[in-house]
C-alpha cells in the first residue's frame, strides 16, 4: 500500500513503527439512528443505472463516477464561465472529527457518505437534512497503517456495501440504514483491513484489502450481494511464479540496481514467503463490461524496504492486473517496479478511456497514475505499455538502494500520485493528477516477519530542511506531455473531479477547494472549507440544479487539519472570482 507519512518531523515516527491501532468501541451492537423518514424519491439502483452512470448527470452512483473510474461528470450547468458564482448550499456535519476520504454517492437527491471508523450517513442532497446514521461496531482488533479511513460505499438494488477497518464487508438497507448482513473478509490480527469503496456489478461486490505494511497476502474477492457468500478470490501473490522474469529495469527502462545472481541463489533456498509478500489492493477497480474484465493496481511487497528477505520480482506487487469478472481468473499484468524497496507502488485507481497508440490510432486504453510521478498508458486488451508521461514532479537519484543511514531519492514514498483518484476529460484526452513532492531518505533494517505487526524493514524519513509541495497536473494522454501544472503549498492527497463544464475541481490540505479551467489550468474559483480538503469531489443534480460535494475532514497521512464536514456547493450568485494567483507550468 501505502500510504504513510505525516508532514514534518512526525514522519520519523515510522522509523519505529506507529502501527496497529486497537480501537476500543462502544459496547453493544452496530446501531442505526433515524432522524427523518427517508425521502420517497429514493429508488433502488438498478444495473442499468450503474451501467449508464457516465451519461447520467442526475446521480453519482459509483465512487469514481462510473465503471471506467473516469471521475468525469457529464453535466455542464456549472461551467468555466459561471463557476465564479459557486457558493455553499449547505454544510453537513458528521459526529466524527477525523480524516475524511469519502466519495459521496447520490441517488435521486439522497446522498450516502462515510466517515473514519465506518459511520454512514444518508442525507438530503439538496438541503443536508439527515435521514439516518449507521455506526459500525468494531471488533477488538483493528490494524491500520495510515488512519481509520473510509472512502465510500457501493450501491445497488436498495443496498449499500461498505468495507470496514476491522476487515468486514457489511450490507445496509439503503432506505433505513439497517444492517442486512456482515462477513469477515480476512483476519485483522494479521494486518488485514478495509478502507476502499467496493464496486458492485451483476450481483457481485468486489473488494480488495489493505495490509502491505503487515505481511499479508493481497487479494481481490467477489461476494454475493444478496447474502455475502464468497464467490471467488484472486490472490495478488501467486503461489508459484512470483519471482517473475528477474527484471533489472523499471517500466521506464531505468536500472534498479538489483543483485539478480544473489536473489536467484536466495530464491533457490527459500521461495515459501508468498503468504506474507504483501500486495494489497485498496482502491476501487475499474470494470470493462464488454470484455468482462476487472482492472486494478497492486500495492507494495512486504516488508517495504527490506528486500533481501523476498528475492524475485515479487509478482504481482507494483503492477496493474486484469482478471476475469465472472471467474476471478488471471488475464494479464504489467509490473512497474520489480522487487520494489522504496514503497513506490501502484495505488491510484486505474481509469478506462481511449488514447492514441504509437501509430496515431485511437484505441481502448487503461491508465494509471503512479507514485513515481508518471502516468502510464496501456493497451486495454493486453496491458502492453504504449507510453508513460513526463514526470509530473521532480525525480532525483533513482533508483538508489536504501541504506542503514538513509539514502535520499525523489520522489518520496508517498509519490507522485498517492491513492488520490485521477480524473480525465475524454473530449480533451487529458488526465488530471494530484501529486506530492516530499523529499525523503530511505532506510533499510533487517527484520524477520513479526507476525501482524507493522513491518517496514526500515524507515522513510522526510528531510526537514527541504520544502514540500503539491502539484495538480494535466497530462495529454496522446503524447504523454504535461499540458499544465498548478503548484500548491502543500502535498496533494484527495483526488480530482473533471466536468463537461470545462472545470477541474481539486482540494488542498490548507482548506482551499478550487476550480481550474480544464484546458489551461487557469484558477477560476476557490472556497476555504476550514479543514483539509483531502477527499475527491462528486457532482449531481437535484430539481434541475447542479451541485458539487466534497468532504473536508483533513488527513491522517499528511496530518492535514481535521474536520467533520461535507461541503455542498451550487450556483447561487456572488462568489469569489479569483484570478490573481498564477498558474505554474
Amino acid at each position: 500500500m501505502t500510504a504513510h507519512l505525516r508532514l514534518g518531523s512526525a514522519a520519523i515516527a515510522l522509523a519505529f513503527g506507529f502501527s496497529a491501532s486497537v480501537v476500543a468501541q462502544e459496547v453493544g451492537m452496530s446501531s442505526t439512528t433515524t432522524s427523518t423518514p427517508m425521502s420517497s424519491s429514493l429508488v433502488p439502483v438498478t444495473q442499468a443505472m450503474l451501467d449508464g452512470a457516465a451519461k447520467n448527470a442526475n446521480n453519482w452512483v459509483h465512487s469514481n463516477g462510473n465503471y471506467d473510474n473516469s471521475r468525469y461528470y457529464p453535466g455542464r450547468q456549472i461551467n468555466a464561465r459561471n463557476v465564479t458564482g459557486l457558493a455553499p448550499a449547505f454544510v453537513f456535519q458528521t459526529e466524527v472529527l477525523e480524516s475524511m476520504e469519502t466519495a459521496p454517492i447520490v441517488v435521486n437527491g439522497v446522498m450516502f457518505l462515510t466517515t473514519s471508523f465506518n459511520h454512514v450517513y444518508a442525507i438530503n442532497a439538496a438541503t443536508g437534512e439527515e435521514y439516518w446514521h449507521y455506526k459500525h461496531k468494531l471488533g477488538p482488533i483493528v490494524t491500520v497503517c495510515c488512519g481509520n479511513n473510509n472512502r465510500g460505499v457501493a450501491v445497488s438494488e436498495g443496498k449499500l456495501f461498505m468495507g470496514t477497518i476491522d476487515a468486514k464487508l457489511v450490507a445496509l438497507d439503503a432506505k433505513t440504514g439497517r444492517l442486512l448482513w456482515s462477513v469477515q473478509i480476512a483476519d485483522p490480527n494479521l494486518g488485514y483491513s478495509e478502507t476502499m469503496a467496493p464496486v458492485y456489478v451483476d450481483g457481485k461486490v468486489l473488494i480488495g484489502t489493505n495490509g502491505g505494511e503487515y505481511g499479508i497476502r493481497g487479494f481481490v474477492k467477489a461476494f454475493d450481494a444478496n447474502d455475502g457468500k464468497l464467490l471467488w478470490t484472486f490472490y495478488t501473490i501467486p503461489e508459484k511464479g512470483h519471482e517473475g522474469v528477474w527484471d533489472p529495469k523499471d517500466a521506464t527502462g531505468r536500472d534498479m540496481h538489483r543483485d539478480i545472481a544473489k536473489e536467484k541463489a536466495d530464491f533457490a533456498k527459500d521461495s515459501s514467503f508468498y503468504q506474507r509478500l504483501g500486495g494489497g489492493v485498496w482502491m476501487t477497480p475499474a470494470i470493462d463490461q464488454k470484455t468482462r474484465t476487472v482492472f486494478f493496481v497492486v500495492g507494495n511487497p512486504s516488508p517495504d524496504l527490506y528486500g533481501a528477505i523476498r528475492p524475485g520480482d515479487n509478482l504481482y506487487t507494483d503492477s496493474i492486473v486484469a482478471i476475469d469478472l465472472d471467474k476471478g481468473t488471471y488475464k494479464w499484468h504489467f509490473q512497474y517496479i520489480a522487487h520494489d524497496v522504496w514503497d513506490l507502488d501502484a495505488v491510484s485507481a486505474p481509469i478506462l478511456t481511449t488514447a492514441k497508440d504509437k501509430n496515431g490510432a485511437v484505441v481502448d486504453v487503461v491508465i494509471h497514475g503512479g507514485k513515481t510521478g508518471h502516468i502510464y498508458v496501456h493497451e486495454r486488451n493486453t496491458g502492453k505499455l504504449i507510453r508513460f508521461s513526463e514526470a509530473m514532479i521532480p525525480q532525483e537519484n533513482m533508483w538508489v538502494l536504501p541504506t542503514k543511514d538513509g539514502a535520499r531519492m525523489l520522489p518520496g514514498a508517498n509519490g507522485g500520485v498517492e491513492w488520490s483518484p485521477m480524473a480525465i476529460d475524454p473530449t480533451l484526452h487529458m488526465a488530471y493528477a494530484a501529486n506530492l513532492h516530499q523529499p525523503m531518505t530511505y532506510h533499510v533494517e533487517e527484520a524477520p516477519y513479526p507476525g501482524g505487526k507493522l513491518w517496514l524493514g526500515g524507515a522513510f524519513k522526510v528531510i526537514p530542511s527541504e520544502e514540500q509541495w503539491g502539484r495538480l497536473v494535466a497530462v495529454n494522454l496522446d503524447t504523454g506531455k504535461v499540458a499544465w501544472g498548478a503548484k500548491t503549498p502543500q502535498p496533494l492527497i484527495g483526488g480530482v473531479l473533471a466536468t463537461a463544464g470545462g472545470i477541474v475541481f481539486n482540494g488542498e490540505a490548507n482548506g482551499w477547494f478550487k476550480a481550474f479551467d480544464s484546458k489551461t489550468g487557469k484558477e477560476l474559483w476557490k472556497y476555504n472549507c476550514g479543514a483539509g480538503v483531502n477527499a475527491p469531489a462528486v457532482s449531481y443534480m437535484v430539481g434541475g440544479k447542479q451541485y458539487v460535494a466534497v468532504a473536508a475532514g483533513g488527513n491522517n497521512q499528511i496530518n492535514a487539519k481535521r474536520g467533520n464536514s461535507v461541503f455542498v456547493f451550487t450556483l447561487v450568485g456572488g462568489g469569489q472570482n479569483v484570478h490573481e494567483e498564477k498558474t505554474v507550468k
Binding site: 513503527g17 468501541q25 459496547v27 466524527v96 471508523f117 533494517e445 501482524g452 517496514l456
Partner: protein, 186 residues
Amino acid sequence: MLSALALPAYAQLDAAQMAAAREKAQVCFTCHGPNGNSTVGEYPILAQQSWRYIFIELQDFKAGRRADPQMSHMAAQLSTDDMMALGFFFAAQKQLPIQFKVDPAKVEAGRKTADTVLCPMCHLGGFVGQNEIPRVAGQWPQYIKKQLEDFKAKRRTNDAGNMTSVAAGLSDQDIENLAQYIGNLF
C-alpha cells in the same frame, strides 16, 4: 476523537468474563506477582500493560518469534481467546510502584539518552505505551536492561527491526542509564 472510542479495550469484558480471565491469570501470578505486580526484577510487571502488547507477545512466544525458557512453554498452551482475555485482564489491573536503589546521575543521563533516541515517539511521553507499544514506566530495571541487551545482541527479534535498530546504537552504560530512568518513572 469520538468519546465512545476512548473507552478502554477491557471494557469489552463483562463481570463474568473478567472473573474467568482472572482464573486464567492465576498461573501467571506465580512469577509476575499478584495481579501482575511482580516483586522480582527478573519478571516484568504486567499490571496496567497495554492489552494489545500482552496479546501480541503471547502470540509471538507461541509462534516461536520470541523465545524464553518459561514463557515459550506457557504460551504454547494458550488459545487466541485465552491470550486476548489475559491481555484484557492485566490491562485492567493497577500497577504498583517498585522499590530499587536509584542513582540520580544515571536517571538524568538516561533521560537524555531517551530523548536523543526518540523513545517517546512510540512509547509516548512518560513511557505509558500505546497499542502494541508497551508501557515500560516503572518497570523493573533488571528486566529493561535484559530486553535492551537482547535487542542489541539480536537475541530478541520480534520487534520488526524497530528496537533492534535503536538498541544497536546504545552502549552498556546507556542501557544501564535508561533502565534506571525508565524504572524510576512512576
